[in-house]
Symmetry: C2
Subunit: 217 residues, 2 copies
């Protein structure tokens, strides 16, 4: 081995190790910043991938290696980094599955609050001007819902309340509920005047609101 091993590094470093990984992250955020900046100033339609790439200092071909299009770049959904998964989520008695799933997704949402206040404000403005972007946000990220449904079905099995025959339908219902909660949270977050509460607060309120609405009927 050439260099001295970093201490407590026997465990495989999952990310952030090495220059390569760091540069990848830098490129990803550079593109994301450029995309948010340009789209906030000119509008989604009047910004080309080429312009974003130029401002980020890469070729447009590289852009497409990271993001599938402007929309994903604005939202920060890079192809290079895996989408969230519920694989490691375990059932805990006393914790509602809906809550467990939403909590598990908090980290993903935290990424939306990264950067300066100005940056967040720009992104919020974009989401106000282009509400359709919210749809693809944290929902239907290319089959992610299927994974979610399977994992939730597994949790339902561990819970043991819902009969096996109903679990798939029930799991998909929960997926749709979670999706609704997250989208509502994104909506109120984007509508908020000035930079206010973090997204996680909006998630809590959104969950309470949707559950209350469902119970009112």
């Amino acid at each position: 081995m050439p260099t001295i091993e970093s201490p407590t590094a026997t465990e495989a470093p999952p990310s952030g190790t090495g220059l390569r990984e760091r540069k990848k992250r830098e490129t990803a955020t550079a593109i994301e910043m450029a995309a948010v900046d340009l789209v906030a100033r000119l509008g989604l339609a009047d910004v080309t991938v080429e312009a974003i790439s130029a401002q980020a200092g890469v070729t447009s071909r590289t852009f497409f290696n990271y993001y599938a299009g402007k929309e994903d770049a604005v939202l920060g959904h890079s192809r290079m980094f895996p989408p969230p998964s519920l694989q490691r989520l375990e059932f805990r008695p006393g914790v509602a599955i809906l809550d467990a799933v939403i909590d598990a997704l908090r980290d993903e949402f935290a990424a939306f609050d990264f950067g300066t206040k100005e940056f967040q404000a720009k992104r919020r403005a974009i989401l106000v001007a282009h509400p359709n972007l919210l749809v693809s946000s944290f929902q239907a990220l290319d089959g992610i819902e299927v994974d979610f449904a399977l994992q939730i079905e597994r949790l339902l099995g561990d819970e043991g309340v819902v009969p096996a025959a109903e679990r798939s339908r029930e799991a998909w219902a929960l997926v749709m509920l979670v999706g609704g909660v997250l989208r509502l949270a994104m909506h109120s977050w984007s509508q908020e005047e000035q930079s206010g509460h973090p997204l996680s607060d909006h998630v809590d309120i959104a969950r309470a609101t949707i559950l209350a609405a469902a119970r009112r009927e």
Copy 2:
């Protein structure tokens, strides 16, 4: 008046009158049929707009007059005919707003069941192979959600239960709930083996499932 009035036609015919309107509908369904047929056989990626247009007997330029892309053509979301609106929906005491809204959208869903059994089966197969299409289906149809939220807010005002300050949030929560119900219905409909129950049945089941899931927490 040039021609003899058709009997019982004192009421303004809202649609389907005239040769022009009929031809428009014919062209729209011709494109839709061609799109579903080709995509079912070759897959979404291997079908070009040009191929769909050719099979439908129009130019690709005309195709784009009717649909924004293959996806919309497969789903039957034509630009020529306005998306559903809740403008005319009125509050009725004793009828839950969620139910009223869903009922009002039934007609749109009926359109999904049109055509031969084979045609419906083809479309179901497409939706199984391309679950992402479901996302854009009856949700976020280019700002339709904003209209929905406003109309639901109006209904909430007529109902008079929710305080005014909470109505917007509540309305959006209902929008997300309705969206979840419709998407769940579409999902189970598309997953169904063989041509089975009409979509409206799936809507009823989906609504019950989601509300039950929300109440279980």
